[in-house]
């Protein structure tokens, strides 16, 4: 962006604040179906919010941020009674903290919410009655995303209830959905990756006496990496499957805490090596616990009844693809740098220390709940 463009953008923003072109009253409703839960946002013009619940607390004809915030709970209640989403039974809506969004026709209140349904919907009804009693021309512009497909609709008016069907998602679509969730889970929750990296950092080195030496050949380094990754994969696949099919269940606070602890162990083992040859054993042992961590993600998403095994495999495969991509990106570099002082005296001790400290913070947070 050039300076001129920035100036222009600023000018534009100022102008938007001074006056707005009048657009008929629209609420913007976004729904993302994620298994049993639907995460959504409602955007309502501040003016419409005033009409709906009375935001202008001091009645001075202006709505301030403080006034909007003070009415957060009222807005939540209003949403619950004027937006009904149901499958066979109504989904329970809970709202989060309100924010503000600037649109070209003025400021909108931005209310995130979650609707939890009893079952994973493939058909559901939306009854949108916001403002219907005061402004029958108000409409809800819906953007609905489910199974990677997006549809839009205009809600409200005389026919307030509308039905949305997704058809059963195809097997392929289910597969892709769960695969990508697996990949994103491993990339976004870096704890699993840090555990794996802690175990892999020394894979290109050899412990002789009290010193780290570079492995002379690529082959042993490769075998080290292969053993650790395979052990981790096998272990977490076992527990993930057991948990997904409800054979074993662990409280998530426990698994999350132990996962943090596992990272500390792996990192400390690089600083004060105890296990030097069979690191794959650490990978396997703690991998079992990481599997329970993955399972909690799946539990939130829900496994589609028709394709439980397929989606489990896809999710697991996604996790493997995600971690393998990171391993392939990092390890060749580690191999090239293994003989350098930077790697042996820098990355190994300081990187491991940083990981250990971070994991300790997590451990405290997670154990405290």
């Amino acid at each position: 962006m050039t300076l001129k463009q920035i100036g222009l953008a600023l000018l534009t923003m100022l102008m938007f604040n001074s006056a707005q072109a009048h657009i008929a009253s629209n609420g913007f409703l976004t729904l993302n179906v994620e298994g049993k839960t639907i995460s959504g946002t409602l955007e309502l013009a501040i003016r419409d919010g005033e009409m709906a619940v009375g935001l202008d607390g001091n009645n001075d004809g202006q709505v301030s941020w403080g006034e909007l915030r003070a009415h957060q709970a009222v807005l939540g209640t209003y949403l619950q009674s004027h937006l009904l989403i149901d499958t066979a039974q109504p989904c329970a809506i809970t709202t989060d903290s309100v924010k503000v969004n600037e649109r070209v026709d003025g400021n909108y209140l931005w209310l995130p919410f979650t609707a939890v349904c009893n079952e994973q919907p493939d058909t559901f009804h939306i009854d949108y009655r916001l403002l219907a009693d005061v402004d029958p021309s108000h409409r809800g512009l819906l953007t609905l995303t489910a199974w990677g497909a997006t549809q839009t609709a205009v809600l409200g008016g005389k026919q307030s209830t509308q039905t949305f069907a997704f058809g059963q998602p195809t097997q392929w679509r289910t597969f892709v959905e769960y695969l990508s969730t697996g990949i994103w889970h491993i990339w976004s929750g870096i704890d699993h990756l840090l555990f794996l990296l802690s175990l892999l950092l020394p894979a290109v080195l050899l412990r002789t006496g009290k010193r780290w030496q570079p492995v002379p050949l690529a082959r042993p380094a490769f075998l080290n990496i292969l053993k650790v990754v395979t052990a981790f994969t096998l272990a977490h696949s076992i527990t993930l499957s057991l948990a997904a099919f409800d054979v074993i269940r662990l409280p998530s606070r426990l698994t999350e805490s132990v996962i943090a602890a596992s990272i500390i162990v792996a990192a400390l083992n690089n600083l004060f090596p105890k296990v030097t040859e069979g690191r794959w054993r650490i990978a396997f042992l703690f991998g079992l616990l990481h599997g329970f961590g993955f399972a909690s993600v799946l539990a939130d998403m829900g496994l589609p009844s028709g394709a439980r095994l397929l989606s489990l495999v896809a999710f697991n495969l996604g996790v493997e693809v995600g971690q393998l991509a990171v391993v392939l990106a990092v390890m060749p570099l580690a191999y090239v740098l293994r003989a350098t002082r930077f790697y042996r005296a820098g990355v190994m001790p300081w990187g491991s220390s940083a990981i250990a400290v971070l994991a300790m913070v997590w451990l405290v947070q997670r154990a405290a709940g």
Binding site: L8, L11, T12, M15, F16, A19, Q20, A21, H22, I23, A24, S25, N26, F28, T30, T41, E43, A45, I46, R47, D48, E50, M51, A52, V53, G54, L55, D56, N59, G61, Q62, V63, S64, W65, G66, L68, R69, S97, K99, V100, N101, E102, R103, V104, D105, G106, N107, Y108, L109, W110, D133, V134, D135, P136, S137, H138, R139, L141, T143, V154
Partner: protein
């Protein structure tokens, strides 16, 4: 309320013609749709005192008690609805039409059905360009109360927007028994002015004494005269009438739009910005501002463009086309996309047939190099003997298309006169 056709803009709710989808697809393609990825932009202001919105009179939650009262008391419902419609007119804020609708709702059917409420409801529908339903509601009102002046006038207005001049004239004539003579005269003569008798009608209306006319009626008269003068090619006179009308009714946004068009036409864009200063919340006026900014290469154009784009996109998304005529002009004169503009102008033409609708269609067709697509408008011009030098300027250049010759003849006969003389 007599000049309510001025709020007229087409509505296409429920019209799922292939053309509509074509336009929709195009608009999506050129990125007119406001993306819904607002999540990334949502924020929490740091100061509790930051003002997020100003609430206009009539839009406060505390006023809901008056609305509740209006459910059971028609003497509350009617003035309240009237107030909302007036607010919609002066502010251009479409929400007020919805508020009026809600207040009128209990009085539109069943044992409580009221002719006054029906007429107000028809006005709401007409303002949203729901012309066919508006006519049905008016007929219902006339069944309850034959010869209701307001109903007849509204009926004439809607029929005129639709280009159904004979039926409109019948309503005007029926009016003669119920309304003041100058209202009937305005109603009938303005129609004669559209059907071949422009110079005579212009003379008749300009002889109407404005003494004792209510301000709104005077504004109506002046805007009719201004429009007629423009069609006669007498821009100087037109300017006089528009200024005159604005003195009587300074908030009349139709007069302002017409005057702004005259200024734009005369390369006086800077005066448009002065005239419309602070009026940019009204879409038709914002359009004129944007065109002026474009002519002046004013940096404010980007903001106006963005706001109009969003406003049209929101209408599109709702399946409404309230401001179709403005949308066509926006695409033609601001965005310079004559082919898309032509498609929108054609959709507009399916709905309404005012003089300006003919003009925007012809201009778009000409710019797109597809004048044959405007044939139905040209046929309409010929069938009704619609006289307008601006239309004539276009048709005279066309070969094989015959248009009415009088308009050109008139301009040469009537050299611009000093308005003071003709008064």
């Amino acid at each position: 309320m007599h000049h309510s056709q001025r709020m007229a803009r087409p509505n296409l709710r429920g019209n799922h013609s292939p053309r509509r989808f074509f336009v929709l697809a195009l608009l999506v393609q050129i990125g007119l749709f406001q993306s819904s990825n607002a999540a990334a932009k949502a924020y929490e202001p740091s100061d509790d005192r930051q003002i997020l919105a100003t609430i206009p009179a009539g839009a406060r939650h505390t006023e809901l008690s008056a609305r509740d009262l209006a459910r059971t008391r028609i003497d509350v419902a009617l003035p309240l609805a009237h107030f909302y419609i007036k607010q919609a007119r002066s502010s251009g804020d479409l929400r007020f039409l919805g508020y009026a609708e809600a207040v009128l709702e209990p009085w539109l059917s069943g044992p409580n059905m009221s002719a006054d409420a029906l007429v107000l409801h028809a006005t709401v529908l007409q303002s949203r360009h729901d012309f066919t339903p508006a006519l049905a509601v008016i007929d219902q009102a006339l069944k309850l109360r034959r010869d209701d002046a307001q109903a007849l006038l509204t009926r004439a207005t809607i029929l005129r927007v639709l280009g159904r001049y004979d039926e409109a004239l019948a309503s005007c004539e029926q009016l003669s028994q119920r309304a003041a003579s100058e209202v009937t005269e305005l109603c009938t003569q303005s129609l004669h002015g559209l059907t071949g008798d422009l110079p005579a009608a212009y003379a008749r209306i300009s002889q109407l004494s404005s003494q004792g006319m209510p301000a709104a009626e005077r504004a109506w008269r002046d805007s009719e005269l201004g429009e007629m003068a423009l069609r006669l090619g007498r821009d100087g006179d037109a300017e006089h009438w528009f200024q005159n009308g604005l003195r009587a009714a300074p908030d009349d946004f139709y007069l302002k739009a017409a005057y702004a068009d005259l200024l734009l036409h005369s390369q006086r864009a800077r005066e448009v910005l002065t005239l419309l200063k602070g009026q940019d919340s009204i879409e038709p006026l914002l359009l004129r501002i944007a065109i002026a900014q474009k002519q002046l290469r004013d940096p404010g154009l980007d903001a106006s463009r963005a706001r109009l784009t969003a406003a049209f996109a929101a209408e599109e998304q709702r399946g409404e086309g309230i401001h179709r005529r403005e949308q066509a002009r926006f695409l033609l004169e601001v965005q310079e996309q004559p082919r898309v503009a032509l498609q929108v102008a054609l959709i507009n033409w399916q709905v309404q047939h005012e003089n300006d609708d003919v003009l925007v269609l012809l201009h778009a067709a000409q710019a797109a190099g597809a004048i044959t697509q405007a044939q139905s408008a040209l046929d309409f011009v010929r069938a009704n003997n619609l006289q307008d030098v601006r239309i004539e300027a276009i048709t005279s250049r066309l070969t094989g298309v015959t248009a009415h010759p009088t308009a050109t003849a008139l301009t040469t006969k009537n050299a611009p006169t000093n308005m003071a003389d003709s008064l």
